[in-house]
């Protein structure tokens, strides 16, 4: 079961850097990320890192609102149409996303789709019905 680290951030100069400084000081490597902004002046930073628990703890200790959030990660082929293949399967399974992003694992061969859903358990059940299974944690966090 894989996790991303989600951080509540005000949209103010220097606040993003405050997060990356904590990660740097703790030797944490970022694999992928998304930054969402709302019209209300705040947003959420989602980070896929090599050591989520350690990152979350360090960020909380530094005073930030940070949480571990379960995600689903699926493998896909790194070539044109690779994302479409996996999205077609997920759509057929009935999975709806709150947020999604990706990373390349091996150039031209393998990539990773990370999906944040409203109901994790339901999504897991839906994908298992079409014999689709999330990747293991080492694949998600590793090199």
């Amino acid at each position: 079961m894989a996790y991303q680290v989600s951080i509540f951030l005000e949209n103010k100069t220097g606040h993003f850097e405050r997060v990356t400084r904590v990660l740097k000081d703790n030797g944490i490597n970022i694999r992928s990320m998304t930054l969402t902004h709302t019209v209300s002046g705040w947003g959420i930073l989602n980070l896929l890192v090599d050591q989520p628990e350690k990152a979350n703890q360090a960020l909380q200790e530094s005073g930030l609102s940070s949480a571990l959030r379960r995600i689903l990660a699926f493998g896909m082929e790194d070539h044109p149409g690779g994302l479409d293949d996996i999205l077609l399967q997920l759509a057929q399974a009935g999975v709806n996303f709150l947020n999604a992003y990706g990373r390349v694992l091996e150039n031209g061969k393998q990539a990773l789709l990370i999906v944040d859903v409203d109901d994790y358990d339901l999504a897991l059940e839906q994908v298992s019905k079409i014999d689709l299974y999330p990747l293991n944690d080492e694949m998600v966090y590793g090199n």
């Binding site: 509540f8 709302t38 002046g41 930030l64 940070s66 709150l98």
Partner: protein, 437 residues
């Protein structure tokens, strides 16, 4: 020129005599209420002891706290069967401030309102659109009765819905409007968006603005945008509502109707009168109210009496603009707000901390109340929709409490100064000035 020449131009010494006569009557009437009866008996006060108006200084003050503690009927000086209307403050925290009127009070208020409008140049030939909330808020019915008493064609338009407001103006040839100043900037934008120029496409000639602090610059901008004259008004629900003090066409301060209200300006610390023409807290006594007289009511508004006489010939004193408050209440979009009300709402929302910061700012000509609150760390789970729902929930809760919609900003924990001692809870970035003569 005058609605009631005999009262409006009464010589000062005769005005003083009239005030004394009415003050005695008021004290006698007030003693009929449970609150004043107990208070005055305890202090051995009777109307006969008042030999001149200044003797009012020997009477105790009345505060908003007194009104709340003796809610609902403690100040009623007449049997309930004689009462025909009440107006009440908003709010769900603590007791509201409620004022009762009998038939005489409503009629007297309507007359003061008509006098005020006439003094600003409104005539019975005007088509008057009252862009103001009706209901418990005094600005709706208060103006309505005055407009009708004066004899204008009244349009009780109510607040909001700018497109409909513009349509009403065009359909019926509105010439005069009452609205809060910050709304007029918004209304002008809607005119522009519709490709209309209020200077050419309407018959507007006169605005009455008030219920919200504003600057001379704002007034001038409104006058330029709409091609009208804009007159400042002042009132407070405890003193009926609108129609307490109004600008005449000289635009040199607001005439406060001294045959209906006895005014004092005191130092809010020492409670002693300030020297003539100096700023202090406005204290008011009703002189023509039967159902619920109030004696030496502390309005908490900071202002002064403008020295000298007005070129219009009215002898009634002129109030300067309200420059501040001697308590922490503030006014935004015509609504009176106490920080305690915001605090009360936030305390009931477990997802946020108890620290908050209210910033009052003029954004594109409109006054906004920005409320910053900290999201609790252990509640945060990374779900953006959940945060958005929380933000909307708090916005609605505050709106229900204070009747104006805030801009709620969720902020990171620890970013608001802790409430140790006298922490700053309200930051007013708006600029206000006093009358320049």
């Amino acid at each position: 020129m005058y609605w009631e020449r005999e009262f409006e131009t009464l010589e000062r010494n005769k005005l003083r005599s009239l005030q004394l006569e009415r003050l005695k009557r008021t004290v006698k009437q007030a003693i009929q209420s449970p609150f004043y009866k107990e208070l005055y008996q305890r202090k051995g006060i009777s109307a006969d002891r008042l030999r001149h108006v200044e003797a009012i200084r020997e009477l105790p003050f009345t505060t908003k706290q007194d009104l709340r503690e003796h809610f609902p009927y403690g100040f009623l000086s007449l049997p309930k069967r004689d009462i025909i209307r009440l107006h009440s403050s908003s709010g769900t925290t603590g007791n509201p401030t409620v004022i009762f009127h009998n038939r005489h009070d409503i009629s007297s208020w309507a007359n003061l309102m008509a006098r005020s409008l006439y003094c600003a140049g409104v005539r019975d030939t005007d088509v008057f659109q009252n862009i103001c909330g009706y209901g418990l808020f005094t600005g709706g019915l208060g103006f309505q009765y005055g407009i009708e008493r004066l004899g204008c064609l009244s349009i009780p338009a109510g607040a909001g819905n700018s497109l409909r407001q513009i349509k009403l103006m065009q359909d019926y040839g509105t010439t005069a409007i009452h609205a809060i100043p910050s709304y007029l900037g918004r209304l002008y934008e809607v005119f522009q968006a519709e490709g209309l120029d209020p200077r050419k496409d309407t018959d507007l000639r006169l605005f009455v603005i008030g219920a919200e602090p504003h600057t001379e610059e704002q007034r001038q901008r409104i006058e330029d945008m709409f091609g009208v004259k804009a007159y400042n008004s002042f009132g407070l629900s405890e003193m009926n509502g609108p129609g307490v003090a109004f600008e005449c066409t000289e635009q040199a301060g607001l005439h406060i109707w001294e045959d209906a209200f006895l005014i004092e300006i005191i130092d809010p610390e020492t409670l002693e009168p300030v020297p003539d023409g100096e700023f202090g807290e406005l204290v008011m006594t009703t002189l023509d109210r039967e159902a619920m007289p109030l004696i030496r009511y502390r309005t908490r508004d900071i202002t002064r009496i403008i020295p000298g006489v007005c070129a219009c010939g009215r002898t009634h004193a002129r109030l300067d603009r309200i420059t501040g408050r001697s308590d922490d209440m503030f006014i935004v979009k015509g609504c009176n707000v106490f920080p305690m009300q915001i605090e009360g709402v936030l305390l009931k929302v477990p997802e946020v901390g108890s620290d908050y910061l209210i910033t009052l700012e003029r954004i594109n000509g409109v006054d906004e109340m920005i409320v910053e609150v900290e999201v609790k760390k252990d509640w945060f789970n990374g779900d953006i929709a959940r945060l958005d729902r929380l933000s909307k929930f708090i916005t609605h809760q505050i709106r229900d409490e204070v009747l104006t919609k805030p801009i709620v900003r969720l902020v990171e924990p620890g970013s608001i100064p802790k409430s140790a001692g006298k922490a700053v809870r309200v930051l007013d970035k708006r600029v206000f000035d006093s009358v320049k003569l």
